[in-house]
């Protein structure tokens, strides 16, 4: 068993409740931070830990905290990003649902470090029952004196509230999230200014993912140095992976960063191998926004090294032969999956979720969806494949927020690695009219048809 620091107590009966959580050492980090350390030392420990943001971008958390504007004298806020809407990702929900006090403890310790007196957890509206779990847990923590005025007699005050969204992926983008928290449409803001200078209600604000904040108590209780010893290189610590798709045991797993992809996929501690023992075809390792990689680049990098579950190894080779750790949304495809259909499905998702502010994203995602849809359904033309390439290239880098890139990358990767599958769809339209075409007849079995028909 590898190191667990987030889920180590998940199986303790009653850990959802305040009493049991407290009896198991809960809230010790708040005591240590406030009584013994002081705010600046908490930031220092988090810096030393090397903890990187778990929302997708992997930005060092301690560094982000150190950017918060303390000079302006304005109130500061910590906002937890619990919007979790990236397809393939369901780990934050697991933490909040089964050990809600861990997040609340993390929020208190982190708010103290930032000098925030009013903090929020922004949770997606669909997680309504989890919203209620958090509301109840916050009430418990407050009744026990961990929130409110003069916490632990230190003079430090903190109010923490949970706030719910209402169905919009884009509100996971931090500035859209802040707009939404202000009661508006979730339109991302142009940066700079960054939230650390002008965030919620124009006050200095730090936005962090649930898992990032839930990692803070362990770091404070042990030490940043101890945390940095877990993991590999600049990928310190543990990471929650949401595993889905064609594997025997889908679910949320805590891994020590650096385990091999092979082990994660095949060991009984994690995914347990492929469902029905069918061949592995492709992998999306970090949520729908990251490039899909074909089977020959999953266990080994292009350089022939073992592919590891770490920020560096998963992105080894760049977008040509690598991908990204992203949010840890690990989606596995076997030979019955259709890459064109998957790409179309994701394009439809991004089109639906585009906020509409930038034309390349608003229009481009629509075009991607349309063209992919016709290819998938047997109405595609040979030139559509280059057209798709062209559209995605014109979206990437030309938008206010990274949703545009997130829509473009999966299309680029699918064409890069699975171009023959697109060609097959175009040249054998009758064979793809049934949506389960590769379930009936996996591509490996029909790929030879393409050879006979090269143009």
């Amino acid at each position: 068993m590898s190191k667990k620091i987030l889920l180590d107590k998940i199986n303790v009966p009653g850990i959802k409740s305040y009493e049991v959580y407290r009896q198991n050492g809960g809230y010790a980090s708040v005591e240590k931070a406030i009584n013994d350390m002081g705010a600046d030392n908490v930031v220092e420990e988090v810096k030393k830990s090397g903890l990187r943001g778990r929302g997708g971008a992997g930005f060092p958390a301690g560094l982000k905290w150190s950017f918060i504007d303390k000079k302006s004298g304005k109130p500061r806020h910590l906002v937890c990003n619990a919007d979790e809407s990236e397809p393939g990702t369901f780990k934050d929900r697991y933490l909040m649902e089964y050990i809600p006090h861990l997040l609340i403890e993390g929020m208190i310790t982190s708010s103290f470090a930032l000098g925030a007196h009013l903090s929020y957890i922004y949770i997606r509206g669909e997680y309504m029952w989890v919203y209620k779990i958090l509301e109840r847990a916050i009430a418990e923590a407050k009744a026990a004196g961990w929130l409110g005025k003069n916490i632990l007699g230190s003079g430090y005050d903190l109010e923490l509230y949970v706030h719910c969204g209402a169905g919009a992926y884009i509100c996971g983008e931090e500035t859209a999230l802040l707009e939404s928290l202000e009661g508006k449409r979730g339109n991302p803001r142009i940066k700079p200014p960054f939230p650390a200078v002008s965030g919620l209600w124009q006050n200095p604000t730090v936005v962090n993912n649930v898992e990032t904040i839930a990692s803070v108590p362990w770091i404070i209780n042990n030490s940043g140095d101890d945390y940095a010893k877990i993991g590999i290189g600049r990928s310190t610590g543990t990471k929650l992976i949401s595993a889905s798709g064609h594997i025997k045991k889908p679910g949320v797993y805590e891994i020590e960063l650096g385990v091999s992809v092979y082990e994660f996929m095949n060991s009984d501690e994690y995914c347990g191998g492929m469902i029905d023992d069918r061949p592995l075809k492709a992998l999306v390792p970090g949520g729908s926004s990251v490039p899909i990689i074909p089977h020959n680049l999953i266990y080994k990098t292009a350089a022939g090294e073992d592919r590891l579950m770490s920020y560096e190894s998963l992105s080894d080779g760049g977008f040509e032969t690598g991908s990204m750790l992203g949010s840890g949304g690990f989606i596995v495809y076997n030979d019955t999956a259709c890459i064109v259909r998957n790409t179309w499905n994701f394009a439809r998702f991004y089109h639906h979720e585009s906020c509409g502010q930038c034309s390349p994203c608003r229009e481009g995602t629509g075009w991607l969806e349309k063209v992919l849809n016709r290819i998938e359904n047997g109405y595609g033309r040979e030139e559509d494949i280059d057209l798709l390439w062209d559209i995605q290239r014109k979206i990437e880098g030309n938008t206010i927020c990274p949703l545009g890139d997130a829509a473009a990358w999966p299309v680029a990767a699918a064409i890069r690695h699975f171009r023959d599958e697109f060609e097959y769809h175009v040249r054998f339209p009758e064979k793809v009219k049934n949506r389960a075409h590769f379930v009936d007849e996996p591509f490996e079995k029909v790929r030879h048809l393409l050879q006979k028909q090269t143009v």
Partner: protein
């Protein structure tokens, strides 16, 4: 926007208390921030949809302009601007769920209820919808029903759910 349907407003004391509790979570001069959570509560108390009259009422309570409510309601997918079936089966149709057979299950459900995706049964009991990833990809296929998720679905479980709905055995809201 036009009022296509009529709705009886029922701003009960329980609802108003909850709204005031939500308002207390934001600074005195930032009450607009409560808009999304307040709309959820108001919608829950009004058969899961929001008429123009109801949105105007919310604007009045938050002391903001009606347009500020309309533009938010039209942006977020969880707010309904027309009446919905009492039981809204919201299937996740994003790719990871498709890998585990959600499309066949939606076909099955639609056929059984005699509706297309997006439609409501004549008795007003069921609406079938396709929505985007609900953060349950590892428990696919799945759907949202009220405030809860129904996961690892099978045809048998759909049959059971439909029966339970008809027999009033389903809890929709987590209050």
């Amino acid at each position: 926007m036009e009022t296509a349907y009529k709705q009886n407003l029922n701003m009960s004391e329980t609802l108003m208390n909850r709204i005031n509790e939500l308002l207390s979570r934001y600074p005195e001069d930032k009450k607009k921030s409560a808009l999304l959570p307040v709309l959820h509560e108001v919608q829950d108390a009004h058969d899961n949809w929001l008429s123009i009259e109801l949105m105007d009422k919310v604007a009045e309570i938050l002391s903001i302009k009606p347009i500020e409510v309309y533009e938010v309601v039209s942006f977020y997918s969880m707010y309904n601007r027309s009446p919905q079936g009492k039981y809204m089966f919201e299937f996740c149709k994003t790719s990871p769920c498709c890998l585990r057979g959600v499309e066949d299950l939606m076909d099955y459900t639609c056929e059984k209820l005699g509706v297309e995706v997006g439609e409501t049964t004549a008795d007003g009991l069921f609406t079938v919808k396709g929505v985007e990833c609900l953060g349950a990809c590892g428990y696919a296929p799945m759907m949202q029903l009220g405030d809860f998720y129904k996961e690892h679905l099978t045809k048998e479980k759909i049959d059971q759910l439909i029966d339970d709905c008809k027999n009033d055995k389903i809890i929709l809201l987590d209050k």
